[in-house]
């Protein structure tokens, strides 16, 4: 067998039955050109090339110039080819390495997100206890609405308790999700929205709102330009701390109403908002998180971000400043959504005195995801409460008219 045939057979064997040079077309390699033996071959060939070039002028006349040129070209091709393949293999290896680095980085991000958003120790137990016991209360009350005043009042009391139980669970979970010490006291408030139709239908309520509304520009006509108000009701607040066996109301809260202005077309275009921090703004936007209130609600930020009078600005600053009790806060609008129809019930406000949350947005997202069933249950209690309260006032009005 001639050496050429042998080479052809060897190449056929190396290319695994494919036609000769198919490996080159497929972008495969016969050898690992970056391996030490091939590096030695490259070195020897380079040296040979140097020798050939050096001895160009000293060639014996017996050697034909064509032979010399052939040797030179073949050596150049071999050295160039080895270098080329080394470069291609190196690039491929680098690409693989870059892909691996990206994959590791992605996995690391996923793991970090998982750690930041996974329920903290005991959070699931807290949730199960809060949800199942509150649901038990809801089942126990049933859907039947009593017809007598005493029954309605009793029902109203238990429905309020249901809302407070939800708030209690939400406050406990906030401490756990923010990875704050278990001794941290956390507060949860429900601010009920009362629209102008509610106020117009109840003169007593309207007067109470006039007497207790705060943060309004027009003191003579405080309801001017308002779509409604948010009721800060001490009875609808809880503070949860390690030392308290039973929840108690937030003692820093005094009853008041917060103005919620009518939404204007110009609001969307304006860079400044007319809705006060935090509850009215959350009622307007949906959900707002402040992780460091003392730095984020300041004279400068109010001047830059809000379109409110300087008197109201001072009141807001005084409210957050004198209370000094809000570190991080989440405001979340509660809406009853049934097949495209929505009724806005108010705002859930959860906060603690300490600033900053360890895991920021991801932790709050995870917290609200876990709490969603509890929030939905709370909406049911609130809706029942509104209906029972309306039935009670109808009954009282009927009794008064009879008298």
């Amino acid at each position: 067998m001639t050496p050429l045939k042998q080479l052809e057979k060897w190449l056929y064997k190396k290319s695994e039955g494919k036609p000769v040079l198919q490996w080159f077309v497929d972008g495969e390699f016969l050898f690992d050109y970056t391996s030490p033996p091939l590096k030695i071959v490259e070195l020897v060939l380079t040296l040979f090339l140097g020798v050939v070039i050096t001895y160009w002028w000293r060639l014996p006349s017996e050697i034909p110039i064509s032979l010399y040129l052939s040797v030179l070209v073949i050596t150049l091709l071999l050295v160039g080819g080895i270098n080329y393949f080394q470069h291609v293999i190196g690039s491929e290896k680098q690409d693989t390495l870059n892909g691996l680095i990206k994959s590791v980085s992605r996995n690391q991000d996923d793991l970090t997100k998982l750690l930041a958003t996974m329920p903290p120790p005991h959070a699931m137990e807290t949730f199960i206890l809060s949800y199942s016991e509150t649901l038990d209360l809801k089942r126990n009350l049933g859907s039947y609405i009593p017809e007598d005043a005493e029954g309605l009042e009793q029902r109203l009391k238990y429905l309020k308790t249901g809302v407070l139980m939800c708030l209690h669970g939400l406050a406990r979970l906030y401490v756990q999700y923010e990875h704050k010490p278990r001794s941290t006291t956390c507060y949860a408030h429900w601010l009920e929205y009362r629209g102008m139709a509610d106020l117009d239908a109840d003169d007593g309520l309207k007067q109470a709102v006039r007497d207790k509304i705060q943060f309004v520009e027009n003191k003579d006509d405080p309801l001017y330009g308002l779509a409604g108000v948010l009721h800060v009701n001490p009875e609808m607040t809880v503070q949860v701390g390690r030392t308290q066996a039973k929840p108690k109301a937030d003692e820093n809260v005094t009853e008041m109403y917060l103005p919620f202005p009518e939404v204007r077309k110009s609001d969307a275009a304006s860079t400044k908002t007319r809705f006060l921090p935090v509850a009215p703004l959350a009622f307007h936007l949906g959900q707002v998180d402040y992780n460091n209130v003392s730095q984020q609600i300041t004279k400068d930020s109010l001047r830059n971000e809000w379109n409110i009078s300087s008197e109201v600005m001072d009141e807001v600053l005084e409210f957050f400043g004198t209370r000094g009790s809000v570190g991080s806060v989440v405001g979340y609008k509660l809406s009853l959504n049934i097949e495209g129809d929505t009724e806005h019930l108010g705002v859930l406000v959860v906060f603690s005195k300490s600033e900053d949350s360890k895991d920021g947005k991801a932790a709050i997202d995870a917290y609200l995801n876990l709490c969603r069933p509890l929030i939905e249950l709370k909406k049911e209690f609130i809706s029942d409460m509104v209906l029972v309260r309306a039935a009670l006032s109808e009954l009282k009005a009927a009794t008064e008219s009879e008298v």
Binding site: G195, V288, D300, N304, L336, E339, G360, S383
Partner: protein
């Protein structure tokens, strides 16, 4: 302007109808299928804004449309 009180609107909302119930069931299975196929299903009921260090707000997520 809607002159109904909150109680009246809630009563109206809660009256319900069988067609809505059927739609809810259908929607649930559609969303479940999407989740099982690895698709992201937005379940938010509120737009989400986060305060920056200077107090300005940044919208970080949108509420689900349906």
């Amino acid at each position: 302007m809607d002159k109904l009180t909150t109680a009246e609107r809630i009563k109206k909302l809660r009256m319900g109808n069988p067609q809505s119930a059927a739609k809810i069931v259908e929607r649930y299975y559609e969303k479940s299928q999407a989740q099982m196929n690895g698709e992201f299903v937005n379940l938010r009921d509120n737009d989400h804004y986060v305060a920056r260090p200077d107090g300005s707000l940044e919208k970080v997520a949108e509420a689900a449309t349906s």
